[in-house]
């Protein structure tokens, strides 16, 4: 959708992942040689049925999972950083600053309120203490998290509130690359609109996004391209209409 020549920010090649469960002596295949390219400023959607490997793909990129084979290359100017072989320490630093991941469920440290949680995220992205507090407040407001909840322990928030706090932490002073795992799945229509506005706004802030959605309407609205995943592999790629129109009925079946 962009006119200028597209430059990749993330290149995934031949990524495979299986889990060996030693206790029951079984192996479960999760990803089968997945390759994809995310361009700078692009919003790429991942679609597919539950268990297709979408979340595993995001986690392998973020290295919550260690892939068995393949490469995940982050393009930083002319530098290419292979995230699968990057040292743990460098990876931990990169995650804080340049590379965000909003998981499906909020994983908040115990006994922390939304404001502190989002402020901590802003601090990790390099804002100073004062700026981080302001940015966190702004981010929470944009997502409609009421001020009376800001000091309340995250674990007592409702599912929708938690999801918005999670998204606020992910998008406050946003990193260059953001992975979103079903960021609006638990939201009511009004809050969903707020969240989508924040997600759409990322494009104007030069944030590249790779996101999982289960709603065709949302994909149409926010994503420039969509990847269809089936059984751990990518089976179709293109604009929403291309993927639908190319006879990949699977997408239609999933999100009918």
């Amino acid at each position: 959708m962009t006119d200028e020549p597209t430059r990749p920010i993330l290149t995934v090649r031949g990524l495979s992942k299986s889990f060996t469960l030693h206790a029951i002596d079984r192996s479960v295949v999760s990803l089968r040689s997945v390759s994809l390219t995310l361009n700078r400023g692009e919003h790429l959607a991942l679609a597919g049925a539950s268990g297709a490997g979408k979340s595993s793909l995001l986690r392998c990129i973020h290295r919550n999972y260690l892939p068995d084979a393949g490469s995940v290359v982050l393009h930083d100017g002319d530098r290419e950083i292979d995230l699968t072989t990057l040292g743990d320490r460098s990876m931990a630093r990169l995650r804080g600053r340049d590379f965000g991941y909003v998981s499906q469920f909020l994983k908040a440290p115990p006994r922390q309120g939304p404001l502190r949680l989002v402020t901590a995220a802003a601090l990790r992205r390099g804002l100073d203490a004062a700026a981080a507090g302001d940015a966190a407040a702004e981010s929470l407001r944009a997502l409609g998290v009421e001020e009376r909840l800001w000091e309340v322990d995250c674990s007592v928030l409702s599912g929708g509130e938690r999801q918005r706090v999670n998204l606020a932490a992910g998008t406050v002073s946003p990193p260059r690359l953001l992975l979103l795992d079903e960021p609006v799945s638990a939201l009511d229509p009004a809050n969903r609109a707020l969240a989508l506005a924040v997600i759409e706004d990322l494009r104007h802030r030069d944030v590249s996004v790779l996101a999982i959605y289960h709603d065709m309407g949302i994909i149409r609205r926010v994503a420039s391209r969509v990847l269809l995943m089936e059984d751990g592999a990518i089976t179709a790629e293109g604009t929403v209409d291309e993927v639908l129109g190319a006879g990949h009925r699977a997408l239609g079946e999933v999100y009918a």
């Binding site: 030693h22 290295r63 931990a92 440290p109």
Partner: protein
């Protein structure tokens, strides 16, 4: 050998016996015993203030009567000496009278009451008021030779502290006294530093007398017979009372009080039953009255610079604590490297002995930690994680491999090759530990403030007010109420103790912090509070942190990276969340599964 009657004695033995047992002087000490004492005294003179053990003999006096002083006087004295014996400044005490008779009768020397006339002055609890010169020796009877005894029960530890010049505990005792009473009043026997090296118990002389030992012209010998210890202050040796830079040492002096008998206002005085004050040194008092005292000379000995000055005293205060948060220093890494702490191929084997086989507690353990980074070490008990921790701290000898710290010789030095004292010194500045059991990191008999003072004093802090302010800041930061700053830690709850221990560990802004099961053993809610505190503290500082725990939630809350240990080896390493989400090793999978249940 059987005793035989006088008549039946063999000729050889009979020749050794004096013809008349009542003739000649009694032999209280044989020449061997005297030589032993003199050897001890010489060693003591050579190393001023150092406590020399010697072969003390039984003396024909009751315990506490000064058998130590008696042995020294008998060993160094002879017929040509004139001996003065005093007890608390008085010649006529029962103790003094009897010792004098014993000494004079044994040595054949002359007894004298005049300090100026005596070549040996044996004294209990006083230094004479009058000047003592180069040809005079002061012998002090000592009831407790070990100055550290009141703060350290272990004889071994006392000796180690003397060897390393580690007197922080004594300073803490002074700090405690100041914090509780506002005055330095240690009564008699205030601890002194001799020649800037050894801490010495000057025997229970009043503070008034301590300046008289400082760079004095006479030799002072102190001896504890029952303890078999002798030590000395040679002439012209510095003797400095232990005190904080900003809290002056004080001698006993009451402005406007004069001796009821001789009228002098500047001597050490005692109060009579009638409420009058008189000179403690009876002989000096008599001489003043007779106009025989050298008052000019005495005047030069008066410790006016130590007279109490209420304006300079410490007021009982709890420092105000602002919200100011002083950030710790920037982390120091080895040049060209990322890390502050590096462990390379660490190994530790407990050798087998009869009844137990060899145990490999750690093998090929390697990791490094950067500033502002926390590394977790997870494993069950017996996995070797505590051994690794102890090897880094220096509590475990005979480890192989290397432990390096960026702030120590730019990371070139292998800590495992340093001497135990050098490793202990690291813990005052560079490396701090928070133990599972607060009793290991704290002195439970000392106040919260005193425990932090301990760390600061060891690191060289000598200003009472600075120490107090810093301790208050730290305690405030770890949310210990300042009202409890001067309470003994032994009265604190477990969670509060742990907070104090954390404050102490951070007191000197170390580069590396080791947390050994920091919340284990605390109630769940208390542990949660401590965990939250630790998380905040780590975020504020650029510390390189190692967290050892069997508890996943602790590792998860505090660290970005972790290693999993089993049977002394690291079986898996990775990002903490990756280890939990995608454990590879069967053992890690077991641990994760167990943690989830």
């Amino acid at each position: 050998m059987t005793l035989q009657s006088q008549a039946g004695q063999p000729a050889a033995l009979a020749a050794l016996l004096p013809a008349d047992p009542h003739e000649g002087r009694p032999v209280v000490m044989d020449e061997q015993a005297k030589r032993e004492v003199r050897r001890g005294v010489l060693a003591g003179v050579c190393v001023p203030g150092y406590i020399v053990p010697f072969g003390s003999r039984e003396m024909p006096v009751a315990r506490g009567w000064g058998s130590g002083g008696l042995q020294v006087t008998l060993a160094i004295g002879g017929p040509e000496d004139s001996v003065k014996v005093i007890d608390q400044g008085d010649e006529e005490g029962v103790n003094a009278v009897n010792l004098r008779r014993l000494i004079v009768g044994t040595l054949g020397s002359r007894a004298t009451a005049d300090t100026a006339d005596a070549s040996i002055v044996q004294s209990r609890h006083r230094v004479p008021e009058e000047y003592l010169g180069e040809d005079q020796v002061l012998v002090l009877q000592v009831p407790q030779s070990e100055p550290l005894r009141q703060v350290e029960k272990s004889v071994y530890e006392c000796k180690r502290r003397h060897a390393e010049g580690d007197y922080a505990k004594m300073w803490v005792a002074l700090y405690e006294r100041l914090a509780l009473t506002g005055v330095m009043g240690t009564g008699t026997g205030h601890p002194v530093m001799v020649h800037g090296r050894y801490l010495m118990a000057p025997s229970p002389i009043p503070r008034w007398d301590i300046p008289r030992l400082h760079r004095s012209d006479h030799l002072t010998i102190l001896c504890h017979g029952r303890d078999k210890k002798v030590y000395a202050v040679p002439p012209h040796t510095a003797v400095d009372p232990l005190t904080f830079d900003d809290v002056p040492f004080e001698v006993e002096h009451i402005e406007g009080v004069a001796c009821a008998k001789c009228g002098t206002a500047e001597s050490f005085m005692v109060e009579t039953r009638t409420g009058e004050f008189i000179c403690s040194d009876v002989q000096f008092c008599l001489k003043v009255r007779a106009g025989l005292a050298d008052l000019d000379r005495h005047d030069r000995l008066v410790p006016r610079h130590y007279y109490p000055d209420p304006a300079r005293r410490v007021r009982s205060f709890v420092p105000a604590v602002g919200t100011r948060r002083v950030p710790g220093p920037a982390g120091i890494t080895a040049p060209g490297e990322d890390w502050s702490l590096k462990v390379e191929d660490l190994g530790k084997v407990y050798p087998g002995s009869r009844g137990s086989s060899e145990v490999v507690a750690a093998r090929e353990v390697s990791f490094d930690v950067a500033p502002a980074e926390a590394l977790g070490v997870i494993g069950e008990s017996g996995s070797g994680k505590s051994t690794v921790m102890r090897c880094i701290i220096g509590d475990e000898l005979g480890a192989t491999g290397a432990v390096r710290i960026g702030a120590v010789e730019e990371g070139r030095a292998n800590l495992l090759e340093l001497s135990p004292p050098a490793r202990r010194r690291l813990r005052t500045h560079v490396l701090s530990v928070v133990h599972q059991d607060p009793a290991l990191g704290l002195d439970l008999g000392v106040s919260a403030g005193g425990n932090i003072a301990d760390a600061l004093i060891a690191a060289g802090w000598r200003s009472y007010h600075d120490i107090r302010r810093r301790a208050a800041e730290l305690l405030d930061r770890v949310e210990v109420p300042l009202g409890r700053m001067d309470d003994v830690v032994g009265q604190f709850s477990g969670g509060m103790r742990q907070r104090v221990q954390i404050a102490k560990a951070l007191a000197t802004d170390p580069q590396v912090l080791l947390l050994d099961e920091p919340t284990t053993g605390l109630d769940a809610s208390v542990a949660a509070g401590v965990l939250d505190l630790l998380r905040e503290l780590l975020a504020e500082r650029e510390l390189a942190v190692v967290v050892v725990s069997h508890d996943f939630s602790v590792i998860d809350a505090l660290t970005d990276r972790a290693v999993v240990m089993r049977q002394g080896r690291i079986v898996e390493a990775g990002l903490t969340d990756q280890l939990f989400a995608d454990p590879h090793h069967p053992y890690t999978q077991q641990l994760v599964a167990a943690a989830r249940s």
